[in-house]
């Protein structure tokens, strides 16, 4: 059975309890874009095509790969992506 833990909000409750998504950038011009292959089958097919199209538009693109799709990205990989890219696209495929 799924149970929940209740906590009481310590804030003045001016913002929603659900964490909002990060706002999307209004433009991606000039950004370095990371493509993260999570090692799920055929994800690379999608990312190869995205890379082709981004490069045709002059974007700087970097490729990354998780060792297995079933695990969280290792901290080193997350740090590397954070330091090298402005934006990351990951492919969930099968």
């Amino acid at each position: 059975m799924k149970t929940e833990l209740v906590m009481l909000d310590p804030t003045s409750e001016l913002s929603p309890t659900e964490r909002p998504r990060r706002t999307r950038p209004s433009t991606i011009d000039g950004m370095t874009i990371g493509l993260l292959d999570i090692s799920k089958r055929r994800g690379d097919v999608f990312l190869d095509r995205i890379e082709e199209r981004l490069q045709a538009r002059g974007f700087s693109v970097r490729r990354y790969r998780k060792p297995r799709f079933s695990i969280l990205a290792p901290p080193e990989l997350k740090q590397q992506i954070r330091n090298e890219c402005d934006l990351v696209i990951e492919a969930l495929a099968d």
């Binding site: 799924k2 149970t3 929940e4 833990l5 209740v6 906590m7 009481l8 909000d9 310590p10 804030t11 003045s12 409750e13 001016l14 309890t17 964490r19």
Partner: protein, 477 residues
């Protein structure tokens, strides 16, 4: 025919007295079939007597049971008699049945009711006691780490916080007699309303014990006093943050540190009371670093900076008494500080020499040429205090001497003096041959704290201006 009169017994199998009196319960069931037996742990105990499962402890809570076994007589839906433990005479009185438990000892004490187990009372009060919170609930999946969930929501100062569960907040509120919905004030910069309940949630986050809570509330009140100028304190580029100093019996009662390492780490009350105030500013007021908090460097005391004044080891009157509070009053003083700057003088044995050491160090607060908006609390430790005590110097005498020594010649303060461009403008010093006090009258204060070994003192410098001043509030229960 069902009698209007009935008996209620509350037992648990884990209690040897409860198991001892099973034959008595059997006797009573025969004499009074409407006897209800609530069992707190094993729903099958006592066997064969059709006990009512009270593993939820709802009935035990509603009946106010503290000891098992408890026996209650109800007449016309009203409780008319009660006893607990096993005492034959008492049980016969309550039941009006004679000859109970022949062969048993006359008296056996009972055991604690499960409602009294640690942490259980809070849970039951929330579930069955009709206690409700006004703050909204945030639910997280049980598989998530609650401490990480608090980090994710931005409730932390960067260190782990204690997850504010309803049970913990309820227990914290028991630390004060004040109503949870009483408004302590509006916390800048958002001017979010801080109720006693919101303060309690943040005190839980900070790791406070409920007995610290009255001190936290007084610290919040002091922070909100107009003289303290909290909005300015939290949004400035300056280093400062609030420093909490506690005086009076409460400091000893809750185990605060005024001795060895008084300004350092390691004491729960010191650490968490200061932190609770900062978390209220962060969470209720929305004062977060990099947003409205624009400190260029800040200081480590912005996690927490809280200590008690050493009153027992001092011959001087305490800061609180100086401010007009009675000696037995518990107070919280809030002032702004940017850290502790050391004064190391292991040689001086006369008050005149030591005062000169203090003045030379205090002169450098903020900048040796800075005389405007500087304030400081000088913290005198036992070994230094002894020098003044032995010479019969009162605190006021030391203060007057420091004021005299800290009148700085204008010639040393003007722009360009000493080859340093920084300094005051000629227009700020009408008399070029005069002097200017380093500290405005009242902006240098002297207090006592510290361990017994070490010929060191310290000063905590900070801003002192028309809008930023120390504030003292009495701690209310």
């Amino acid at each position: 025919m069902q009698s209007k009169d009935t008996l209620i017994a509350v037992v648990k199998k884990d209690c040897p007295t409860c198991t001892l009196i099973v034959p008595v319960l059997r006797q009573l069931r025969a004499a009074q079939p409407s006897l209800t037996i609530y069992t707190q742990d094993d729903p099958a105990f006592p066997e064969g007597l059709a006990p009512v499962d009270d593993t939820s402890l709802e009935q035990s809570y509603r009946l106010g049971v503290q000891i098992v076994p408890t026996l209650i007589r109800i007449d016309d839906a009203r409780e008319t008699a009660r006893t607990y433990g096993w005492d034959r005479k008492e049980w016969e009185r309550v039941t009006n049945v004679a000859g109970l438990g022949t062969g048993l000892p006359d008296v056996r004490p009972g055991c604690g009711s499960k409602t009294e187990d640690p942490g259980v009372a809070e849970r039951l009060a929330i579930r069955y006691g009709g206690f409700t919170f006004q703050s909204r609930e945030v639910t997280i999946d049980d598989s998530a780490d609650p401490i990480e969930a608090c980090f994710d929501r931005g409730w932390s100062d960067g260190l782990p916080v204690v997850p504010p569960t309803p049970e913990r907040v309820y227990a914290m509120l028991k630390g004060t007699t004040r109503s949870p919905q009483e408004v302590v004030g509006q916390i800048p910069p958002d001017y979010g309303e801080c109720t006693v309940e919101k303060a309690a949630i943040n005190a839980v986050l900070a790791g406070c014990k409920p007995e610290y809570f009255p001190v936290v509330l007084a610290a919040i009140e002091a922070a909100l006093a107009p003289d303290f100028g909290l909005h300015g304190v939290l949004c400035t580029t300056n280093f400062i943050g609030p420093v909490v100093m506690v005086n009076g019996p409460i400091a000893r009662a809750i185990g605060m540190n005024s001795g060895v390492n008084a300004l350092g780490q390691g004491n729960r009350a010191n650490a968490t009371i200061g932190r609770a105030l900062q978390l209220v500013v962060r969470n209720v007021g929305g004062g977060r670093p990099g947003e409205i908090d624009r400190a260029t460097l800040g200081n480590p005391g912005k996690y927490t900076f809280c200590f008690a004044e050493d009153e027992e080891g001092s011959e001087w009157e305490s800061f609180s008494v100086e401010k007009g509070f009675p000696k037995d009053a518990s107070t919280v003083t809030l002032f702004v500080g940017d850290g502790a700057a050391p004064i190391v003088d292991e040689i001086s044995r006369t008050p005149e020499s030591l005062a000169r050491s203090y003045a030379a160090c205090l002169r450098a607060a903020h900048h040796p040429k800075k005389v405007i908006d500087v304030a400081a609390f000088l913290v005198v430790t036992p070994e230094h205090a002894r020098v003044f005590h032995q010479a019969g110097w009162s605190k006021q005498r030391l203060k007057s001497e420091l004021e005299r020594l800290l009148r700085i010649p204008v010639a040393e303060l003007v722009r360009g003096a000493g080859g340093i461009d920084a300094g005051i403008l000629p227009s700020e010093a009408p008399d070029p041959n005069g002097t200017i006090p380093k500290f405005r009258t009242g902006s240098l204060n002297i207090v006592r704290a510290g361990g017994g070994a070490g010929k060191f003192s310290a000063y905590i410098s900070g801003l002192g201006s028309i809008t930023i001043n120390p504030v003292t509030k009495e701690v209310r229960p």
